[in-house]
Amino acid sequence: MRLIKAVIRPERLYEVITALEEKGFRGFTVMDVVGRGRDGGLKFGEANYMELAKTLLMVAVHDEDVERVVEVIKRHASLGMFGDGKVFICPIEEVWTIRTGKRELGV
C-alpha cells in the first residue's frame, strides 16, 4: 500500500474530495498546514508572506490505484499556477484497523 500525501490549495479541497468519492476512494484524512514551496513564499512590494496556508490530504491506497488517485488530484487541484502544491507518495509497511485489531495489508 501507499500513502499519498497531497499538499493542495484549501479552496480546491472539496472538489478533489468529491472527485475521489466518485471514483470510489472514500477514505482520507485532512489537515490544515502552513508552509512554503521552492519560491519561498510570496512577495507583494512591502508585504512578505513567509508561509502560505495549504491543506494536506492523505489517502492510503493499493499500489495499483496510485496512478488513478494522483491523476484525479492533479486534474482537480490544479490551477496551472505557482502554489498549486505537491503530491508525495510514501510506502506503507503495515495497516492496522483498530476496530477489528487485524493487520489488513502488508507491502
Binding site: L3, R26, I98, R99
Partner: protein, 96 residues
C-alpha cells in the same frame, strides 16, 4: 526505526499520548478531519443525503524496530471499542 501514524477518536487521544510518554516515545499530534472506508458520517435532510467528515486526532512518532510490535498491540488494546470509526495505524519504514 519505523514511523507510526496513528489516527484515533478524539476522546482516546490522551490515553494514547500517555502510553507513548510512558514508553519514552516522542510524538506530535494534531486534530484532523477525515472519512473512512464507510464514507464518513451520513445524515439525510429534505434536500438529500449528505456525509460529513469526522474529527479525529492524528499522532505521529518514530519507534525503534524492537519496540514497535509492543506499541502497536498496546495502542490497539487501549483504543479498541469494536465500533466503526476506531481509526487506523499506519506503519511506515524509515531509514535503516
Amino acid at each position: 526505526m519505523k514511523e507510526l501514524i496513528i489516527i484515533v477518536r478524539r476522546e482516546k487521544a490522551q490515553d494514547v499520548k500517555a502510553l507513548l510518554q510512558d514508553m519514552g516515545i516522542d510524538y506530535v499530534s494534531k486534530p484532523v478531519l477525515g472519512k473512512g472506508k464507510e464514507g464518513g458520517f451520513g445524515y439525510s435532510t429534505r434536500k438529500g443525503v449528505f456525509t460529513s467528515m469526522v474529527p479525529k486526532v492524528l499522532i505521529m512518532g518514530w519507534v525503534e524496530d524492537a519496540l514497535y510490535n509492543d506499541v502497536v498491540s498496546r495502542v490497539l488494546s487501549i483504543v479498541h471499542t469494536g465500533h466503526y470509526g476506531d481509526g487506523k495505524i499506519f506503519v511506515m519504514g524509515g531509514l535503516p
